[in-house]
């Protein structure tokens, strides 16, 4: 994979993180393709090291662009208390690797994430971490997220809620 493409995709993911951290959720929606699949399976502790330790039958998120749009619109109401007082959050994205996707204009992109959140004047911060597997697609010269699977590393999430997008 050439360095230029890697750099372009990395910058795209950093830009996405910037929009989310600054609660520009409507602008974030523009980065999602219409046929988006957005999901977060559940991590479990299994008794066989080699068996899958992910459960897909029940997930934390199972979203389409439409349902994410509803979630975003809700955050712009005056009574979405989860974002009021406003959340202060950082999405750290690293370990980005790019591989060709199944279609010509698509790439399979893996990244690690660390999410930190600070609410009100609470000195304790919440965090989530894990890995993401995206399919990014170039549509009319612009990058779009065609699918995202978020793999949390915790079986019991140490956040009050998943009010954030990852």
């Amino acid at each position: 994979m050439n360095a230029e493409l890697h750099c372009e995709i990395s910058n795209f993911l950093y830009h996405e993180a910037y929009l989310l951290d600054h609660r520009q959720y409507k602008e974030w929606l523009d980065l999602l393709s219409e046929d988006l699949v957005y999901q977060m399976p559940i991590r479990v502790t299994s008794d066989n090291k080699d068996a899958s330790n992910l459960v897909y039958e029940m997930k934390h998120f199972e979203e389409t662009k439409k349902s994410l749009t509803t979630r975003v619109n809700r955050l712009y109401t005056t009574s979405a208390w989860v974002d009021n007082p406003a959340t202060r959050q950082r999405h750290f994205v690293s370990n980005i690797s790019v591989a060709p996707g199944s279609r010509p204009e698509e790439y399979r992109v893996r990244s690690y994430f660390l999410f930190k959140r600070s609410r009100a004047s609470d000195i304790e911060t919440e965090q989530l971490f894990g890995e993401r597997e995206d399919v990014l697609r170039k549509e009319n010269g612009e990058w779009k997220i065609a699918s995202r699977t978020i793999y949390p590393d915790q079986a019991v999430l140490s956040v009050m809620n998943l009010g954030m997008f990852l």
């Binding site: 008794d47 509803t70 999430l157 998943l162 009010g163």
Partner: protein, 429 residues
């Protein structure tokens, strides 16, 4: 009810010893343990529990701790096994909890080592109702069915309306919230009053009606042993979505499985929301944000991790007999509304944490400052009489904006907390 009681560490310790040690604790739904050898690991506060289906199909629950030196025996969340082997010295136990293998047993232990004495310690009581498996650490506890009492009638509607009952989809979601277990139990069991404010975003989104009393229509039913349920209908007493927006083809099945009174109540109800004391809550709503409405059943256990923390265990359940596409749509409806990423749920979590944050101070516990040390549970007192015509068991008040269920919950809590003190007082007389 003094506000400091919410988060006081000494009270919390009392609760662990006096409430959680002798009440029925929900462990799992039987659909989570389909085959022989299936197991799940759960907790009763700090007691790890291993629940297994044995080869004969029976359910058994043990303390999930090796009888040799106490190692946490099985750390997996669920799975299938024939034996459980301890990583420390290799003792192994079968599905019946019997010790079947001691590494170098004959060589290191004398002949007096009797394996049958060192089997896994059974959880004293294990009973189930309509597929809901409960355990109790008190061997002298009243039977589960007696404990559930009038709640059984409502469980019959929720869990028994369909052929084959309900099934759990996948596994419970789990996360940790800053909250006190009593406050969250109350939130589900006894508090439709919060709906109009906490969940106002749904009104702003055009999903819920704008009438500020919309969540008040229906009945709040106080049951024995601190249980309670709210049956929400509408201003007319009938849900606009008959049978909770389930497919019409299921209705004759409901009629077959329910009594005429239960069937009629189900036809009129939009939301059932309630709790089994101390820390099992449930909600069976009608939900949808995309123009289509669905019903599901969500059970949750608030496992206390301390006075101001709960580990939330959240199960999605659906009628086994529902059409597959309905099940899928209801599941999506659940993800969007309740559970770890549910939009309704996340606004609730905000208030739960604010309660504990503001309940640790001096003014909330100083009796000299008592104008401010009591939380308010007066709603509906002296204003509403029970509705004698309500068909179900319990004391049914004709609106859900009342505090009677909360008061029942706290009364039973107080009875358990103060039991020994009262007994000691009796003896002293």
């Amino acid at each position: 009810m003094p506000q400091w009681v919410v988060t006081d560490p000494d009270i919390y310790q009392l609760e662990v010893e006096k409430v959680f040690s002798c009440t029925w604790q929900f462990l799992a739904h039987e659909s989570e343990l389909k085959e022989a050898g299936s197991y799940v690991t759960r907790w009763i506060v700090n007691d790890p529990v291993l629940l297994v289906r044995t080869n004969s199909g029976e359910l058994k629950a043990f303390l999930n701790s090796c009888t040799h030196r106490g190692v946490h025996l099985c750390t997996a969340d669920f799975g299938k096994k024939k034996t459980f082997t301890c990583p420390y010295h290799g003792w192994s136990f079968n599905l019946e909890g019997e010790l079947i293998g001691i590494v170098a047993g004959d060589k290191v232990y004398g002949e007096e080592m009797d394996k049958s004495e060192w089997g896994l310690r059974p959880i004293p009581r294990l009973e189930s109702y309509r597929g809901m498996i409960f355990a109790n650490l008190d061997r002298n506890a009243m039977p589960l069915e007696e404990y559930l009492g009038g709640m059984k009638w409502y469980f019959d509607i929720l869990l028994g309306r369909s052929d084959g009952g309900m099934e759990v989809r996948g596994i419970p979601q789990r996360w940790v919230a800053t909250a006190n277990w009593k406050a969250v139990q109350e939130n589900f069991a006894a508090d439709p009053y919060h709906v109009q404010t906490t969940h106002r975003s749904t009104v702003e989104m055009g999903i819920s009606p704008s009438d500020p009393l919309y969540a008040s229509y229906g009945h709040a039913i106080v049951l024995e042993h601190g249980h309670g349920i709210n049956v929400a209908t509408s201003k007319t007493g009938r849900s606009i979505y008959p049978f909770q927006a389930t497919p019409e083809l299921m209705w004759p099945m409901f009629e077959r499985n329910l009594s005429p009174e239960q069937y009629d109540l189900l036809s009129r109800t939009t939301v059932f929301v309630g709790g089994v004391f101390p820390n099992l809550s449930f909600v069976s709503p009608v939900h949808g944000t995309e123009g289509h409405l669905h019903n599901y059943l969500n059970f949750r256990v608030w496992r206390p991790l301390g006075p101001d923390k709960v580990e939330v265990w959240c199960w999605f359940m659906i009628d086994k007999a529902a059409p597959e596409d309905y099940k899928e749509a209801a599941y999506r409806g659940y993800i969007g509304s309740f559970g770890s990423s549910g939009t309704l749920e996340m606004d609730d979590t905000e208030n739960w944490s604010r309660i504990v944050q503001a309940s640790k101070g001096i003014m909330s516990r100083d009796k000299e400052l008592n104008y401010n040390n009591v939380a308010n549970y007066l709603m509906g007192s002296g204003k509403f009489e029970p509705d004698e015509n309500f068909p179900g068991p319990g004391t049914a008040y004709p609106t859900t904006y009342v505090d009677f269920i909360s008061r029942g919950l706290h009364e039973y809590w107080f009875e358990l907390i103060s039991k020994d003190l009262l007994d000691a007082g009796e003896e002293a007389k």
